[in-house]
């Protein structure tokens, strides 16, 4: 049983997280040996950056202004990302579990132990009792390899990835509406739009680089509509702000469409020629009058009308959304109702006209394309479709019946571990203890595993439960590609070799496959060979990379898929000429009635709880909680609440408050601000243990995409003690006293 054997303090002392800083007094102008043009290791923009390398260590960065997407711009995470390299917490050798924590071991021992663990679980409980969890921060090469490894070496159906916690609702909605899962436009279309809707996206903090794109549009006269329960930095300067009540997004989109139809702001010709099922939507939204919609959403009727008045007749427009509408038990439905707003106007597939989901993870797009999802095979193929199965079975040289069927999704895998159905787990770049809702249940599940191995470069909170930890590679230690939020496949370059006795991740996977007797399927000597294979495997599939090579990607600073032939330039903008990817070439409207979240407020738990990110932290914080400057910028989670609510609860700024839901409680300082709805509190989720917002979130899943409902549940809030810190003066510092 995988219970912890050491105290929290001991794990932190030995493995971190400990914040790393630049040397005192700066880098002393050390001349680097080389500047490596690569990309940031964090979000889905994948900003171009040049890493300064000296003596096989990354010692800083230099902006890469020639890379067209960010032109040298970076957020604070990108600026300090280099400090993850040469970090005191870095795992430099495989670890093996002992009765007193971990001991460093050699690769032979770690592999032998893992093969033994896998065999023991699978012989006793069946192949599917051993699961694989991957991640969307990894390269396309690794995403492909993870899928192949699980299906051929482990022969388990149960492989999924942490992208399941992120944007899968958008992915399924995109496939249902357009027949393909990719942002429809390159970001260069944003500044050409005359109206932009940003729905459920804290763009300024989670995707800072796109701020400039949005404001270039505004400079050219565009109107910006922001829809969010909080006034985020990008909302501050919006032309129209709709403070939607958590969990009501599909109603709001239906309400806006109601006004558009009433005023005749639909493109009937486009609808007739290029879409299906608009009649069902037209019928459905009849009852979503502004007044009806106001009552559900908490957004004033006049603002709903104003949004329709801006969006409806616009000449060009872009609709962008993120987790705010996706992290719901109706995440897919929310996205589809928003897509209706785009399709009804016909403004898609043209310069300045389109749609996109803002991908949160580094390879959020590519990570969901090449087969590390439980329902997917390479090339975006469907594991349940006979012709797709046959293509990949033949490509890999395995009999089709031996290819596992669709397995469980990420949260369901944790559920199945908890139920005792899955007994073994191999996890890479995934920290479910922090990132999956209802974290106490995740902890109990981990404790039940009979065998657990992790591949990671730092010992995450989850990895503490492992029997074997393989010291894997940082992004800058390997070659590969990632596909950004706009569908642009870009090239990552290795800057340094893995620290100590750590190895590149793909070598670890391949070696494990070899030890499992599947060597012939994993003959790679470098990442490029994996890429060549994944590109070939994607030929003719829904997601076609077959015309891409490393050389071509580098020469063009990225290639947009589909790129089906060597002489094909790639496809920055999808759906030109109203051609969609469903077999009939049409897009599909979806009529979804608003329905309530899985857990709504009531007299016992009267306040909405919602969660999200801050600009200086990334996902479960495994990397960013180890970078000093980023830790100092936002050291611990705070509970944002409106003064109106705070007053009713007798809470002052920085008082210590307890937030309780049906799952558990979290105790943090309050941050009393007028920028959040008074019926809602917000806590960011990047921290573990007692500071984990996911102690209180609900593990309720969208039935279509299986994304969890991070963005809404019901809580109560009470004061625990007065503030420990002297509150900063509440007087406006600009007021002269």
């Amino acid at each position: 049983m995988a219970t912890l054997t050491q105290s929290e303090e001991t794990y932190i002392r030995l493995y971190g997280p400990k914040p790393a800083y630049e040397p005192a007094g700066g880098w002393n102008n050390a001349e680097p040996d080389k500047l490596v043009k690569t990309h940031c290791c964090f979000c889905g923009v994948q900003c171009g950056i040049q890493l300064k390398v000296k003596d096989n260590k990354v010692i800083g960065f230099e902006p890469w202004e020639e890379f067209p997407v960010n032109q040298g711009k970076l957020c604070p995470k990108g600026v300090k990302r280099y400090l993850q390299n040469d970090h005191p917490d870095r795992l430099v050798a495989p670890l093996i579990r002992t009765s007193e924590g971990f001991t460093a071991t050699n690769w032979y021992e770690a592999m032998t132990e893992t093969v033994k663990g896998i065999r023991s679980v699978q012989d006793k409980y069946g192949r599917d009792a051993f699961a694989f969890l991957g991640g969307a921060s990894m390269t396309n090469e690794k995403a492909y390899l993870n899928g192949k490894f699980a299906r051929i070496a482990l022969q388990t159906a149960n492989i999924d990835y942490n992208g399941r916690l992120c944007m899968v609702a958008a992915g399924s909605a995109n496939r249902m509406a357009f027949g393909v899962d990719r942002a429809a436009n390159p970001w260069s279309d944003i500044p050409l739009a005359k109206v932009i809707i940003l729905s459920g996206t804290n763009l300024g903090e989670c995707f800072p680089i796109l701020t400039d794109y949005v404001w270039r549009a505004r400079d050219a006269g565009a109107k910006i509509i922001v829809i969010d329960p909080r006034i985020t930095p990008i909302a501050r300067t919006a032309d129209l702000f709709l403070p939607v009540r958590p969990g009501r997004d599909s109603a709001l989109a239906n309400g806006i469409l109601h006004v558009m139809i009433e005023r005749g702001w639909t493109d009937e010709k486009f609808i007739a020629e290029h879409t299906n099922d608009f009649d069902k939507v037209r019928e459905l939204v009849k009852k979503y009058t502004p007044e009806f919609t106001e009552k559900i959403t908490g957004v004033p009727a006049k603002s709903i009308i104003a949004a329709a008045e801006m969006w409806g007749p616009a000449e060009t427009s872009m609709l962008l959304h993120a987790r705010g509408i996706e992290h719901h038990t109706k995440g897919t439905e929310n996205v589809l109702t928003y897509i209706n707003l785009v399709l009804a106007t016909g403004r898609i597939g043209r310069p300045g006209c389109g749609y996109g989901t803002i991908t949160g993870q580094g390879n959020g797009q590519g990570g969901r394309e090449h087969g590390q999802r439980c329902n997917q095979l390479p090339g975006g193929r469907d594991i349940s479709k006979p012709e797709h199965r046959e293509f990949i079975a033949e490509f890999w040289g395995v009999p089709e019946p031996e290819l596992p069927k669709q397995g469980l999704t990420a949260c369901e895998i944790i559920d199945a571990i908890e139920r005792g159905e899955i007994k073994g787990l191999l996890s890479i770049s995934f920290n479910p203890l922090v990132s999956i809702p209802d974290s106490e249940r995740t902890r109990k599940a981990l404790e039940k595993l009979e065998f657990f191995a992790c591949i990671d470069f730092f010992l995450s909170e989850t990895a503490r439960y492992a029997d074997v930890v393989f010291a894997g590679s940082l992004q800058e230690e390997d070659e590969g590609t990632v596909t950004t939020g706009e569908g642009r496949c870009v090239r990552l370059r290795n800057s340094v070799t893995p620290a100590g006795d750590a190895r590149v991740d793909w070598w670890i996977i391949c070696e494990l496959a070899r030890r499992l007797g599947k060597e012939k399927w994993f003959p790679y000597s470098k990442s490029e060979e994996i890429f060549t294979e994944l590109a070939a495997a994607s030929r003719g599939g829904p997601i076609d990379y077959s015309g891409m090579t490393y050389e071509k990607i580098e020469a063009n600073m990225g290639i947009f898929w589909p790129c089906p032939a060597p002489d094909h330039p790639g496809t920055p903008r999808l759906f030109e000429g109203g051609k969609f990817h469903h077999p009939d070439g049409r897009a599909k409207f979806h009529a979804y009635e608003y329905r309530r979240p899985a857990e709504d407020v009531d007299s016992e738990f009267p306040i909405f709880f919602t969660t999200g990110r801050v600009v200086s932290q990334y996902l479960s914080g495994t990397q960013t909680r180890r970078i000093g400057g980023l830790v100092d910028q936002y050291p611990e989670p705070l509970c944002e609440m409106h003064p109106l609510l705070a007053e009713k609860l007798g809470i002052k700024d920085r008082d210590i408050v307890k937030v309780t839901t049906r799952r558990g409680e979290i105790t943090v300082p309050a941050q009393v601000v007028k920028s959040i709805r008074p019926d809602t509190v917000f806590i960011p989720y990047h921290w573990p243990g007692k500071k984990a917002a996911n102690r209180v979130t609900i593990r309720a899943l969208d039935p279509i995409s299986k994304i969890p409902e991070f963005k809404v549940c019901a809580c109560r809030v009470e004061k625990v003690t007065d503030s420990f810190v002297q509150p900063k003066s509440q007087a406006n510092p600009l007021t002269i006293r």
């Binding site: 009501r248 957004v299 004033p300 397995g407 009267p606 600009l734």
Partner: protein
């Protein structure tokens, strides 16, 4: 003096600032800054809103900080860039800190030295942009030709400020909007009835619209997937292709 570095100028637009601190983090990375960020970025007043204000040295034509320095430690170079105090001369008296009308210089006690933004002269003097203005993701800090600003920005640059009887002309431009309007920051202003009498517990009252009681919206289906009963793995209620 308003002549620029290779025709480039610095433009500061707090209205665009998203408070991300990329500038602060990057400033400390600049080769000559000894690991110290010299740009200041603060919330104007976080309780009331998310507006933040980045402060760089305005590089005055006739710098007050230099004029009040008893040790003649603050120098202005041929480009008009006003530098940090020279380490051999600075007596750490903080006259400059008190005198600067923009609140820019800071006394670094641990170094016994006044340090301030020097427009990354090590970078700008060799044709690069200052670190902060290179990385700024929102365009709040912009370094480049004036004609770009004039062509693409709706705000206008201003570089003359009045402090009492003192007129201060600066090398750095502050962007101001010709159509100044109060930017909204209070969420109540955007709620129905401008939030008047807004009850945060409204939905928990019996008979409230869209509440758990469902009183008014009985025709709306309740979520079919409460926490305890998620769809089966291979559920038949949805197309398998759509996972």
């Amino acid at each position: 003096m308003s002549g620029a570095l290779n025709g480039n100028e610095f433009f500061l637009d707090p209205s665009r600032c998203i408070g991300c601190q990329a500038c602060v983090q990057a400033c400390g990375e600049c080769g000559t800054h000894r690991g110290q960020p010299m740009i200041h970025l603060e919330y104007v007043h976080r309780s009331t809103g998310v507006q933040t204000a980045p402060v760089v040295c305005m590089h005055c034509e006739d710098p007050t900080c230099a004029r009040v320095c008893p040790a003649d430690a603050i120098k202005q170079d041929d480009h008009g860039v006003v530098h940090s105090a020279a380490k051999p001369r600075c007596v750490a008296c903080s006259n400059c800190v008190i005198a600067c009308p923009f609140g820019v210089p800071k006394m670094k006690v641990e170094l016994d030295l006044m340090m301030k933004c020097d427009m990354c002269y090590d970078r700008t003097s060799v044709g690069k942009k200052p670190m902060c203005a290179t990385v700024c993701p929102s365009g709040a800090l912009y370094y480049g030709p004036r004609n770009y600003i004039e062509k693409y920005r709706c705000e206008q640059p201003l570089n003359e400020f009045q402090f009492g009887r003192q007129t201060v002309r600066t090398k750095v431009n502050m962007m101001v909007s010709p159509e100044l309007k109060a930017l909204p920051f209070e969420v109540l202003d955007f709620l129905p009835w401008e939030g008047k009498d807004f009850d945060p517990f409204e939905l928990t009252r019996t008979g409230a619209p869209d509440a758990a009681s469902g009183a008014i919206w009985d025709d709306l289906p309740v979520s079919s997937n409460a926490a305890s009963t998620p769809c089966a793995t291979h559920c038949t209620c949805h197309e398998p292709t759509s996972v």
